[in-house]
């Protein structure tokens, strides 16, 4: 036992709670698999927000990509380079590479690009989406400067057999098909899931690049995805379990041309990801061991780029008492890249430790430490300290003060270091110091139930890497310093009136991301908002549920985005409205499912998320999921 206690281990912050307000009563909760994963993420995250996207809503959106879901369902902003095209996430005003993405605990940001294309992660590959807002490098390692996104699979024991067939038909040739079968016995569970997504993307758009701005039909923007997911769980004994997940995904697309260009680029992305988790649940401890591999091949026209990541880690979560819990882990990663202009490999070793201290019932403090060794060089030591204090608690009201102080970092990507020409072996990791403070409130009065969450954050990001022209080629250099600050506000309200259940959700984010450095002497950029970081994004959803029927309407408004670093060109704000009606059915307990009809972009708004990248107008979707 003490041996285990001395071990350091894996999955920073995988062990937590459903949300902050429940953090002090975790031992009494019975959680589903998805909830267990979410709880694990929250356990050592006092002072920060880990949000789980609504599972029923995700079910309605099967066939969507993760990028579409985050753009449509949250206040996060993604740079979408067209429908179904590259989608990169910006959290708290950071760049695309400053957010970590995990699938079942495996880091899946591209090692060569240092970021993820959220458009090639279809919902068919996972069951739950958790979003960790804010700097969390001490918990998750490299890249998690602005936040992190966690995708996880849900496979339960004793869940019986289930065959699920789903389809979604939509405008512009959209067709999603998915079949999954799962069996959950007492000691063994498995699931096989296959899916196919296709979109012709032949929507009409206004061609701003041609005289007279004629209306044209989009060509060369077809997207095709196919994938297989295989999950296994074995309960070796009452205390031991083994879980394995495999995800094979192939994404084939024509790259939607920029307005004014007549190129016919094509891109193929193939990925194979697999993880195996061993868990031993002792009386006071949980020991986990994990291994995984992520292999990605991207072929752009004829250029082939391949990366492989192998991960091995172990972690021990020990509970000394109700007041003290600690997690320690070690993680080793081996990365190999065969890119168009270079072959390279590198190794990373990470040690981390997290401690929760709850001196009194309504106060929780978590501290995390992480040290990453990258190719023998120490990355910035990464500590983090978070506090949650429930300063007012009654049957009707719960008020909490939350705060967090943390450092984070980003290791230079393979391309930054090795690309020929311009890769720079002397690059330092990008680093950040983040502070945040917030207030949460939960109120339940009669038929009303309300949750508010308000956070202010401030973050300094230094040694930001840019590629700058140096004579006849470009070179990666640590040049930029940025101060990001802003507000996040979340509201969730429910009102029950007879059989009616009214709901309202609001996500608002204010992001100021100001360039302090002027990018190597470019004074025009100094003191300016970073490009493609909207200062405001608000997403509101209202719903009415009555029995099996649910009607919703939602709106997202995104403020203007600057196109260049000197803020001389900007893109107009846009507002999109969506609506839909869903119906959940059950026939004699043998067949159940749901169906829905959705209208997106009701007012047929002509908008561009990224300049000169056309987006679809009004479109319709019908989905049907049947469970046998």
């Amino acid at each position: 036992m003490s041996l285990f206690a001395c071990l350091v281990f894996f999955i920073a912050g995988w062990q937590s709670e459903l949300d902050s307000s429940r953090a002090f009563r975790q031992d009494t909760l019975v959680l589903s698999q998805v909830e267990v994963h979410a709880a694990a993420l929250r356990k050592y995250s006092f002072g920060q927000y880990v949000r789980t996207l609504d599972a029923d809503r995700l079910d309605q959106l099967s066939g969507y990509s993760l990028g579409e879901v985050l753009q449509q369902e949250t206040g996060l902003f993604l740079r979408q380079y067209g429908a179904g095209m590259l989608a990169s996430l910006s959290m708290r005003g950071t760049s695309a590479g400053h957010n970590a993405l995990f699938w079942n605990g495996l880091p899946v940001n591209s090692p060569s690009l240092g970021q993820a294309d959220y458009s090639i992660f279809p919902l068919g590959g996972f069951d739950a989406v958790n979003i960790h807002y804010g700097s969390s490098g001490a918990l998750y390692g490299t890249d998690a400067i602005g936040g992190s996104v966690h995708l996880s699979s849900d496979l339960e024991f004793n869940a019986g057999n289930e065959l699920k067939i789903g389809t979604l038909l939509g405008s512009f040739g959209r067709w999603h098909q998915q079949v999954s079968f799962r069996q959950g016995a007492e000691k063994f569970a498995f699931r096989t899931n296959v899916y196919r997504n296709f979109t012709a993307n032949n929507f009409t758009y206004k061609d701003w690049a041609s005289p007279g701005t004629p209306e044209k039909r989009q060509e060369h923007a077809r997207v095709s995805q196919i994938g297989l997911v295989q999950d296994f769980s074995i309960k070796i004994s009452p205390k031991q379990s083994l879980k394995a997940n495999l995800w094979i995904n192939s994404n084939d697309r024509q790259i939607q041309p920029l307005l004014g260009s007549a190129v016919s680029d094509v891109q193929e992305d193939k990925s194979v990801r697999s993880v195996i988790d061993y868990t031993y649940n002792g009386e006071k401890f949980t020991w986990t061991a994990k291994t995984g591999i992520s292999s990605d091949v991207m072929v752009f026209n004829t250029d082939r780029n391949q990366t492989r990541l192998f991960l091995l880690g172990t972690a021990l979560d020990y509970s000394f008492s109700q007041k003290w819990q600690t997690l320690a882990g070690i993680r080793y990663s081996h990365i190999k890249g065969q890119l168009a202009t270079y072959d390279s490999q590198e190794q990373r070793l990470e040690l981390y430790q997290a401690t929760n201290f709850k001196p009194i019932q309504n106060l929780g403090i978590s501290m995390q430490l992480r040290q990453l060794i990258h190719e023998g060089e120490a990355a910035p030591f990464t500590p983090s300290l978070g506090v949650e204090w429930a300063f007012f608690n009654s049957a009707l009201w719960n008020w909490q003060l939350i705060s967090n102080l943390s450092r984070s970092f980003k290791i230079p990507t393979l391309n930054d270091r090795f690309w020929v020409p311009g890769g720079n072996l002397n690059l330092m990791p990008e680093k950040s110091l983040s502070k945040e403070i917030g207030l949460t409130n939960k109120t339940k009065i009669a038929a009303f139930s309300i949750e508010n969450r308000f956070t202010y954050f401030h973050m300094d990001v230094d040694d930001w890497i840019l590629w700058l022209p140096r004579g006849s080629y470009w070179q990666a250099e640590n040049v930029r310093s940025v101060v990001n600050q802003g507000l996040e506000y979340f509201f969730k309200g429910v009102f029950k009136q007879g059989s009616n259940r009214w709901g309202m959700n609001v996500d608002y984010s204010l992001n100021s991301a100001v360039n302090q450095s002027g990018d190597q002497g470019n004074s025009l950029s100094q003191g300016k908002q970073l490009p493609y970081v909207p200062k405001h994004k608000i997403r509101t959803q209202g719903s009415l549920q009555n029995g099996p029927y649910k009607l919703y309407i939602q709106q997202q408004w995104t403020s203007e985005r600057y196109v260049t670093t000197d803020n001389q060109t900007l893109l107009s704000p846009y507002s999109l409205w969506d609506t839909g009606l869903t119906y959940a059915f059950e026939l004699k307990g043998k067949l159940k499912g749901n169906l829905g009809f959705h209208t997106n972009n009701i007012f047929n708004v002509d908008y561009q998320v990224v300049r000169l990248r056309s987006m679809p107008g009004r479109n319709f979707q019908f989905n049907l999921n049947v469970v046998l």
Binding site: W208, A209, S210, P211, T213, L258, L259, G260, S261, A262, T302, L466, L468, P469, G471, S472, D519, Q520, G521, N522, L524, S525, K528, V563, T564, T565, D566, Q568, T569, R611, L612
Partner: protein
């Protein structure tokens, strides 16, 4: 009363006659003076644009094309060719926009079948547009051409004239079109027949033609030198080559020349970019360090004010800057412009 009416008619007649016999004064268009600044735009953003610089106020009007036509230019602006009536904006993203020179109002475009258009010349009522054509798997351009459009306000391509290699600058001399082809040749096209009549081999990588004191020259460079090839006006053979020992001259072949036969070129050196002054008349480097800085991308010379204009791309992270330099090589002022200022036109 009748006398009064007659007097009025006579007065009106006199007025009409006087108006008819005076020279007609057409006011100059807003863009027929000052400086037109070519901003190339950034790859993947298609944000090329034209800025207009007022020499009197030293202020720049941004995004002229978009503000006049209420739509973005949406391309990478490779070249700007201006005639009295129309100005042609050549985008290397595969189109040529045609605007009225006086007011920049769009009158048409060539935007079908162009791939990587580079420059243009007008001859015999037709447009001749040089185009690299598509890249192959080895990033070569084996299907380069000069596109011919039979309407000076744009429209469809009538036919294509294959060129020996990537075509850049064009010149209309006599009844021939000269094409600077990057693998070291000049292709000579006979206007009317519209096919390559002959090729002339030259040293270096050819970029652009220019005229000085009645003679036609071709600017070419390689890693070590800049070449100015003087051409025979009838045969287009090289009659004289001036070689200047300027290494690392800018890869896009940008240079400028003034009325005195002084050429200004950009040399990318180890720690800075340097404007080097050459003399066409003496065939030598006059000042190897006329002005230095970083991120130099375009040059232009205003003979009226004897001022050198230098475009700075500012690392392509944002928009660029234009600096004005006097004859002594001193900075006069600078002004913020669009992305990647690569060239200047002085109407």
């Amino acid at each position: 009363m009748k006398k009064m009416q007659l007097a009025c008619k006579l007065f009106l007649f006199a007025l009409l006659v006087s108006c008819g016999t005076d020279p007609v004064e057409i006011p100059q268009g807003a863009y027929e003076n000052g400086v037109l600044i070519i901003n190339e735009g950034a790859f993947g953003a298609n944000d090329g644009e034209v800025y207009h610089f007022d020499k009197n106020t030293a202020e720049a009007e941004a995004n002229v094309f978009e503000s006049i036509n209420s739509r973005p230019f949406a391309g990478l602006l490779q070249d700007l060719i201006s005639y009295d009536d129309y100005t042609y904006l050549v985008a290397n993203t595969g189109k040529v926009e045609v605007v009225q020179s006086a007011d920049f109002i769009s009158v048409g475009a060539v935007n079908n079948e162009l791939v990587n258009s580079r420059s243009m010349v007008r001859a015999d009522g037709k447009l001749y547009i040089s185009d690299w054509g598509p890249y192959d798997a080895f990033w070569s351009n084996t299907e380069s051409f000069v596109a011919v459009v039979e309407d000076i306000t744009g429209g469809d391509i009538a036919y294509k004239i294959p060129t020996p290699s990537r075509p850049e600058g064009l010149a209309f001399v006599g009844d021939r079109i000269l094409v600077a082809c990057q693998l070291g040749t000049i292709a000579v096209i006979e206007v009317g027949a519209d096919e390559v009549e002959k090729t002339v081999d030259v040293e270096g990588t050819p970029f652009f033609f220019f005229e000085y004191q009645g003679s036609h020259y071709l600017y070419a460079n390689d890693y070590d030198k800049i070449y100015l090839h003087k051409l025979n006006s009838a045969t287009f053979e090289v009659v004289e080559t001036l070689e200047f020992p300027v290494s690392n001259s800018l890869y896009n072949g940008n240079f400028t020349i003034n009325n005195s036969g002084e050429l200004f070129v950009i040399s990318n050196q180890a720690t800075e970019d340097v404007v080097v002054k050459l003399s066409l008349t003496s065939g030598s480097v006059v000042d190897e360090h006329f002005y230095s800085g970083s991120n130099f991308y375009g040059l232009g010379f205003d003979d009226d004010t004897q001022t050198l204009y230098i475009g700075e791309h500012n690392g392509w992270q944002g928009n660029g800057t234009v600096m004005r330099i006097n004859a002594q090589g001193e900075l006069i002022d600078d002004v913020a412009v669009g992305r990647g200022p690569s060239g200047f036109y002085f109407p």
